[in-house]
Symmetry: C2
Subunit: 283 residues, 2 copies
Amino acid sequence: MDGLAQFEEEIWTREAGGGGRTRVIQNGRVLAKGGVNFSAVEGPMPAELMKTSLGTEAEYAPSDLQFYATGVSIVLHTNNPMVPIIHMNIRYFEMSNGKWWFGGGIDLTPHYVIPALVKDFHLRMKAVCDSFHANFHTRFKAWCDEYFFIKHRHETRGVGGIFFDRLDEASEGMSKEQLLAFIIALGDAFVPAYNYQVAQTQDLPYGERELHWQALRRSRYVEFNLVWDRGTKFGLQTDGRTESILMSMPPSAIWEYNYQPEVGSPEAETQAWLRKGVDWVNY
Amino acid sequence: MDGLAQFEEEIWTREAGGGGRTRVIQNGRVLAKGGVNFSAVEGPMPAELMKTSLGTEAEYAPSDLQFYATGVSIVLHTNNPMVPIIHMNIRYFEMSNGKWWFGGGIDLTPHYVIPALVKDFHLRMKAVCDSFHANFHTRFKAWCDEYFFIKHRHETRGVGGIFFDRLDEASEGMSKEQLLAFIIALGDAFVPAYNYQVAQTQDLPYGERELHWQALRRSRYVEFNLVWDRGTKFGLQTDGRTESILMSMPPSAIWEYNYQPEVGSPEAETQAWLRKGVDWVNY
């Protein structure tokens, strides 16, 4: 799709077991900076994961508890401010005590909200969800709004999508194979969904004003990822591979004190959409 | 000193008691973006402060416990990459149970380390410390290196200075008046110390290369403040005044995947200084 830049690739290994492959693209035609991170790590359960993975059972965990975690994360930042940022993550976690779960989601962060395109994105997410469970879309759309909320800005990171965590047989009444099929279908929906966004926006004109606003929106993306994103915080605080974790950072960002978009401007219009609970499917 | 830009000022109040004054300067001759934040807040002790302020005594705290906290924070980012970023904070905290303490420090973050200037800065910090207690400088210099360490980058934010927290009569064997005199002396040392840094560097030439490196260093500053700085995290997570807290953000920053300065370059030389335990006073 980009047609200009190529991904560079790094294979890395984790001392305690497993490893991954980080692919990064920079200075492309469409993509300013993007990353695709695959990891599959395993070994003795890290102490930092005990509490979050086992909750109150943590103190009874056998000392030889093993884990396996695998996932794909994608973040793409664009040159043209009219083209949205996109993020996808799908992941699977299991422990030697027999527990396992899936998590993930896809969410869209336009620098400028174009409602028809946001609706298209949400319709595609709904279609994937609806093929597997009648309540998936309602639950996972609301979960996404909650998760990607920048509390200190009182705004969402973007226009949402779907997000879910710890899906298992008990929570969903579905087998591991059925849930895996959902996760794979979500992964498969990513490329066509984003291709459509890019095709519809990549030739839209922009200038200094739009680039300035894009840089401000990118600083909010930085703030969310470094202050609130659980995966990023966990990775950085437990000595994960920093360059792989921070591939989600935008190529650049600016901070201006007390910036407020002009009333009635396209920027103010976008800002007004950055809230929870917008019914995009029925827009 | 700046001679071009003026501070804009905002007076704010805190719903539960007290308030502050935020002053921000942008697009100046020397200063690209800087802030001076004064606050004096009080009222019923917030639940989030209980654990950190009282430790194991938290559960026995009276329900009518009151607090008072005041401080000054300064962060100055510069246009010329040869001029260092500086940060100062001095603060005082007390509770209605009679406990009180002082905290603070000043630390320097050069984009390019010029050893003679770093030595000058540390000598000034040592002079302030030595007037009050023979062990202050050794302890507070080491504390600063520890505090401003970016763990996920395995590097310090800058070249340090001094940092301290919870100084009280019991910890220092000094009266409140003596400790206040130290805090005031530290505040008084800020302007001459930074004026000297600026005077020695503001006319040094720079170009695209230095601006690029400055933008990379600024992204590390963002990472430290949003991921590791206790005050920033606490403020953002407890619904503090976001624009006052984030006045510390640089005007702009860039992220490049896996960036490494060229071996033997001035950038690599600066990078090599970003470690704990450098004996700058005796450089």
